[in-house]
Symmetry: C2
Subunit: 491 residues, 2 copies
Amino acid sequence: MFESAELGHKIDKKTYDKEVPALREALLDAQFDLARTKAFPVIILIGGVDGAGKGETVNTLNSWMDPRAIRSNAMGDPSDEERERPPMWRFWRALPPRGTIGVFFGSWYTAPIVDRVMKKTRDAQLAKSIEEIKRFEKMLADEGALILKFWFHLSRQQQARRLKKLEKDPRTRWRVTDTDWERFKVYNRFREVSERTLRQTSVAHAPWFAVEGLDEPYRNLTVGKAILDALRKRLDNKHPKSIVVEPAPPPSVDHLDLLNSLDLTQKLTEKDYKTDLEKWAGHLNLLTRDPGFRKKSVLVVFEGNDAAGKGGAIRRVTGAVDARIYQVVPVAAPTDEERAQPYLWRFWRHLPRLGHIAIFDRSWYGRVLVERVQNFCSTQDWLRAYSEINDFEEEMARHHILLVKFWLAISASEQMRRFKEREATGFKRFKLTDEDWRNRRRWKDYARAVCDMVDRTSTEIAPWTLVEANDKYFARIKVLKTICNRIEAGL
Amino acid sequence: MFESAELGHKIDKKTYDKEVPALREALLDAQFDLARTKAFPVIILIGGVDGAGKGETVNTLNSWMDPRAIRSNAMGDPSDEERERPPMWRFWRALPPRGTIGVFFGSWYTAPIVDRVMKKTRDAQLAKSIEEIKRFEKMLADEGALILKFWFHLSRQQQARRLKKLEKDPRTRWRVTDTDWERFKVYNRFREVSERTLRQTSVAHAPWFAVEGLDEPYRNLTVGKAILDALRKRLDNKHPKSIVVEPAPPPSVDHLDLLNSLDLTQKLTEKDYKTDLEKWAGHLNLLTRDPGFRKKSVLVVFEGNDAAGKGGAIRRVTGAVDARIYQVVPVAAPTDEERAQPYLWRFWRHLPRLGHIAIFDRSWYGRVLVERVQNFCSTQDWLRAYSEINDFEEEMARHHILLVKFWLAISASEQMRRFKEREATGFKRFKLTDEDWRNRRRWKDYARAVCDMVDRTSTEIAPWTLVEANDKYFARIKVLKTICNRIEAGL
C-alpha cells in the first residue's frame, strides 16, 4: 500500500508554478458546478503519519478553492454533548450537505487504528470496526456522496528527520508535541495496522490515496489533481451509482404471517385498564428516577396502521414521565436541510442525551414501509435500508441507548370503523386525509412490508413488539409494560 | 405582584372534574390550529419558588395537549458547547419553530435573579439585565412569538410547609434537595428581587402570570386557561403586532456622507502588495497561535457593493489561517428551518466556539441593506433591526467574541467596469445576475442605507471599517491589517 509513497517523489518549482494556475482554475470551476447543481456532497478524509504535511496541504487546497463551500472539521476530543451520543454522532452532524465539501482531519478511522496500535483492542475488534466502516461508507456512497480518502505517508526515517527539522525551527517548534514522539516510537506497528486497514477499506466508491508527505509541491499537486479528477468525472458523467441489489424477500407460501397470526380480539375492561395504567405509569415514572437511568437513554419507535392509536399510546407514555426528560419527534416530510443529507441524518440529529427519552412518532422505518409501498424511493434504496437500519440501531444499542420498537396493528375492519367514526364526528383534528385512503388501498402491500421489516430488523438489541391494537386499552398497557420491562432489563 | 397569589386559592374536585374535559378539548383544538397554520411560535417560561408545583403542572398540561408539538427544555447547567458561546446561545438554539410550543424551565430570568439574591451582582447590574431581557422579548414579540410567563408562587410559610411535606413522604423525598433549603433561607430576598424583576418585565406582549402554587387543581386550571385564552385570541383575531415605529433617520443636508467622503483612489503596487500580504498574513497566522487566542473567538463580517471583491478578500484571510479553526458562512436565502425562526436565529447558530474564527460573507445586516432597499421587509422590521443587532453584537462582545465588520466600497464607475469585464470574459463563476443590475439601479438608496447602518451600528465594541476597494490590493491589505490589530488589541 505504501510502496509508491516511499519513492522520494518530488516536483520541481518550475513545473509546480506552471501547473498550479490551471489546476486552481479547474478546481474552482468544478466547485462552482458542484455548488450550482447541488448534485452530491464531497467527503474528504485526511489521515496519516504526523509531520507528513496534512495541515499544510489542506490549507493550500483551501486557498486554491472557494472557502465558502468547504468546511474543515478538526475531529479532536469530543464535546460532552458528543460523548453522550454514539461515537458516530459527531461525524453525522458534521457531514457536508449536497453541493459542498467537508474535510475531516481525523475520522472514523482514527480510533480503530490508534486503539489497535496501542493494544487497547485486538485484531478481531479491528476487523469488526473495519466491517462497520465499510458498511457506513457504502451507505454514504449509495446516498450519492463522493468519498475521497488521503493518507499522508512518510517512511520511518523520513518521519524522524521531519519531526527533528520542525523542532529545530522556532517558528514550527510548537507543531511537534510529545504525542508525536510517543507515536513515532510505535511507527512500525502504526504502519502495519494502518496499512491493513487502508488495504481493506480502499474500494471503488471510497478509495484511499497514499500520498508521500516529503515534498510539498508533490503533495499539493497529487491531492489537488485527485480531487479535481474525481469531482470532474462525477460532475460530467453523472456516473451511475453502483448498487448491489439484494434479492427481495420471498412471500410466505402458506399465507400465514406475523400480522395475520396476531390475536386482535385481546382486550381490557375500562376498570382493569385504569388499574393497570396507574400501576405501569407509576412504575415507568420510578424507573426514570433510578440513579442508573442517568447513564442510559431510551428511544421508543412508534409505527402502525393509520388510526391504530399511536398518538393515544404516546400520550400515555409521556403522561408518565417528567416533561423535562422526554422529547417527542413527529416524523413528517423532511426539511430542505434534511433533504440535503443522507436519509438517516434527520434521525441521527434527534438522538437523546443520557438520561433522556426520545419518542419517535413514525421513524426511519418509513423507508421500508410507505416509501417502499408507494414507490417513493427506488427498490435499491429500500432494500439497502434494512442493513443500514440494523447498523444504525447497533450503534445506538452499543452506546447505552435502549431501543423499543412498536408496531400497532389493527384489523382492516377496525380501521374502517375508525375512519367512519372520524368522518361522522367530523372533528377536524382527526380529519381523514387522502393519504389515509391511499394507504388503505394498499393494505396487503403494507402487511407484506411490515412482515419483511420485522423479519429483517427485529434483533436482540432492538426487538420489535407487535401490539394488538383493536382494543386501545389493551394496546396502551402493552406498550407501557414493554417499555418498563425493557428499561428494567437494561438498568 | 404576589398579593393575589397568596389568597389561598382553591378549586374543589367537583368543579375541576367538570371543567377539565372542555379545557383539554379546547387546548387540543387551539394547538391543532397552531400546528396547521404555523402562524407563530409559543414560548412559555416557567419560574418561581421551589416546591410550588412547576413540574407537576407542566406535566399535567403536557398530558392534556399533544406532546408532539410541545418541547420542554430543562435549562440546567450549560454543556461545554454552550459555555463556549454567549449565554443566550442556548436559549436561541432551543427556541420553538413556528407552529410549536416551547416550554422553558428556568430561563433568561434565572441567572439575573439568583445572582442578585446571592449578592453576586448589584442593583445596577440587575437593572441592566432587565433592560436586556425586555429588549430581547420585544424582539421575539415583534417577530411574532406569543410569549407567556408563569411564576409559581408560595408564601414563606406555605413553602416551608410544602418542602417539609415533600420530605416526609418517601415517594417525594428525592425532590427536596439541599439547594432548596439553602434558597428557602433567603426567601425574603428572593421574593423581593423576583417581585421587582417581574413587575418591570410584565408587558403586554410578554405578560407574567403569578400563580399561587398551593392547590394543584387551581394551578392547572389557571395556567391551562391562560394559555388557551392567549392562544385562541391570537389565532382568531390575527391580532396585529403592536410595533413602536422609530423615526427613519434623516438624510444628510449637505450631501456629504461617509461613503462619498472616502478616498477611493488609494492603491498599492503589486510589489508592495506582495510584501504586505506576506507580512500581515504571517502576522495573523501567529496571532491565531497565541495561547490567549484559545480563550477568544473572532467573527468577521463582510458586506460591500456587488463586485467589490469580498470573495477575494475572504480568501486572503482564510489563506492565512489553519483550515481547522475557521469557518466561512455564506449567507444566502434562509432554509425552511431558518424561516420558521426569528430573523437572527440563522446567525446565532453559526457563532464560533472559543479559539475559532467565523467569517460571514454577508450577514445580519442584510435586513438594513438589501431588505430595506428592495422592500423585502416592512419599514418597522428594518427599523427595529438596528437595536436588535446592537444587542446581538453586545452579547457577542461580552462573551469574548472579537467582532470585525467590513464594508467594501467601490465607486459606481468601478462597479460598471467590473460588471462589463465579467460580461466580456463571460466566465460562469462570475456571471452577472439580474440581482446585480437590480441593486445597481438603486445605488443611491443603498448608499443611504449603508450610511445609516454605519451610523447606527458602529460601536466601540463592534466598529465598522470602511474599506476603499477600488484597488483590490489596497483593500485586501487593509482588511488583513484591521483584523490583526483587532485581535492584537483583544488578546
